[in-house]
Subunit: 234 residues, 4 copies
């Protein structure tokens, strides 16, 4: 069942150690089949170097296990909320990558400070508000998804144009047009977090790029007028 997606999700999970994005088992990738409304996700707490395609767990959008012998990632309810609310995304990644976590622990968003950021993210990477006692104690992982969705709605951020978030005092979630693309965005996020950190140390509070330059670089790579890469080659 969903063999191709399970293969994609396994491979995307294995990219996390390859790109040095995880310590031990601290990360997970999922993918969704939008026709069947089924999500494939990494099992909880399993070593990357032992994971097989058959270890991937299939759940429906209510979190029921449809196939798989192992527990799905404990972050599964967060993934499900994002798939239900961000209707175009096809893959999700959660890591504890250190530069992104450093901003999350400081409760700070990552400012759009240069063209590397603008090539992938159309604006700052938002940080969620701290969760309430209630949210933490009941259905914590689902509530984590809810507070992410709230952040994007209240700030009018389009999740297709800013495919990343920092959960306060926790860490990053990224998403994208496939499990692999979501990993790609996780790697870029970590890189722009590192550079924004250093720019902020050199020039505190004053590193935001011009909106026009942000528009230019994002539109150069995204949308119908994109001219980067080999896309417009007949």
């Amino acid at each position: 069942m969903l063999e191709d997606l399970k293969e994609q999700v396994l491979k995307a999970n294995l990219l996390l150690p390859e790109y040095h994005m995880v310590t031990f088992t601290w990360g997970n990738v999922s993918g969704i089949d939008r026709n069947k409304n089924l999500v494939v996700i990494k099992p909880s707490g399993v070593d990357y170097n032992k994971m097989k395609t058959s270890d991937m767990v299939i759940v429906d959008l209510d979190g029921n296990i449809v196939e798989g012998d192992l527990n799905p990632s404990s972050d599964t309810p967060t993934h499900l909320v994002l798939y239900k609310n961000f209707s175009n995304i096809l893959g999700i990644v959660h890591t504890h990558s250190p530069w992104a976590v450093s901003f999350a622990q400081a409760g700070l968003s990552i400012p759009a400070a240069g063209t590397t950021h603008a090539d992938y993210f159309y604006g700052d990477i938002p940080v969620t508000r701290p969760m309430t006692e209630n949210e933490i104690e009941k259905n914590y992982e689902k509530q984590t998804g809810d507070v992410i969705v709230e952040t994007f709605k209240q700030n009018n951020i389009n999740p297709d144009e800013v495919p990343a978030v920092l959960v306060n005092d926790h860490g990053p979630f990224t998403w994208g047009t496939s499990p692999k693309n979501a990993v790609h965005n996780a790697v870029v996020l970590e890189q722009v977090a590192e550079m924004a950190y250093h720019s902020l140390q050199l020039k505190p509070h004053n590193i935001k790029m011009d909106q026009i330059l942000l528009d230019k670089h994002f539109r150069r790579k995204h949308g119908k007028n994109a001219y980067y890469g080999q896309k417009n080659k007949s």
Copy 2:
């Protein structure tokens, strides 16, 4: 004698260079057999790439060499104090890993700043007080253990829930449920130290996480209500 434990301790020592936790010979791992009250520990100043099982030294809890041709680690008396006072621990690691040492040299504890920390350590990683002239000059390594134990007692910290300490102007000790688990905690400590450092630069003095979130994450992975990983899988 204690061949299995010697093998475990050797392997755990070899994990230190594998996880990039040591420069030259700056680290040591030990393990204890609680039935026999014997401790297996790395020899002093021997290269990791030349160490063999038979180089491991067996000492009793008074520090007498029971088996082995080499001098045990000069930090052996510190390990022994910890085994005697922290009655559940089965493995101990000492390193000079750079992020943890940076906090130790500043005389600062590592604040619990996010869920990565909370997944492993139930509260701040404490730093010991500076040792007195007397403590340094007589039985220095044993006194190092004593000041660690004092730190946990005076601050009511449970060493099973915070399996790490920073010795002032020196470096970290970690412990755990096995020599390998103690190394695991050493790696996590280094990672949370790195992230806490950067969070502190972004938001000085103000990065502590909510106690409720700390409770949630620690309890999600530890104790009888843990639901992370495959533990509760029948």
Copy 3:
């Protein structure tokens, strides 16, 4: 056509991942044949590990494709402006290497702070002024070249003696006496940016080296009185 230069440009591009200078496809190298006034450049958005000599694109100084099936790098117009205005240079590199970008995002030049810098760059690495709305919206990549040239002219900097620039809120361009030499300068730039950053944190605003020491080190390696290396042998 230009097989030797295409080979040189391919090899120089492949040095970028080898020296850990790029994430994904974020970098490009070109070379010029000054007799034929033709430029060889990397195609846009192609993975380094799949690139072949035959993928290199040949363009003339007006940007017309003379040979090649792929789109040239989107930064091609910037390269062409530099070749037209800096008449001695034979290779150009653009990267998003993180330490150089951190200065670019802060809008700061990299101060000549020590002999490592002085061995390669005769003075600070300048940062360009922010580009205007007009410059960004029309012929952006060409205008990027123009603002680089303006920076060198207005500050009387000799591009042969300072073979690097930071484009504001964007990243570095370096150049040199060959495509390979331009990569060499990109690696040095990243290293001196890293060290200048840390020196600035230790001693803010006050790390510039003496002009006499700068002269000494630059002249020790460059120009007719150089005595470094094996150049003046036999």
Copy 4:
């Protein structure tokens, strides 16, 4: 001639890239035969991966080439001054390792901040005063050695107990009981520089360790009462 020493010096030079201490050719190691008063040193500007034993250059203490087809390192006169003035040392290393250079560029010594430092260096790593115009313009490399020697004399530092220095706005020299030991000290220097930097960011101006702890750790490893390692094993 001096085949064994040439072999030692070659191997010690090759340790520099192995320990990630150099970029390109930015480093050199020498060794001395105290009976013959001859120094073996790396040639200038030669790639580490191409260097052979026969490329090593032999010079006398006045800098005359006694054997070798290549130019010796341009830093040879600095090495010679150190061998003449620090009569016990048998190997010298110069690198541009980035953390040590960061302190040198800030004109700051590296404070003895913890036991890692104290295990190798009996006090702060001094930084030299800036050189004068005269010193830079005439016999620069020899004068670099003179200013190092002056620093140790004026501050009553024993070069056998503090086998390292930072040359102002330049970088580190280390030395030791053999070429290999000098490289070992260069690696330790870089590590303690990195940790002192981060400790200083956490607690500016206030990270010096107690003198008694410094004494304890240095004497634990050095001198007649040392008890670290396997030295006192019969």
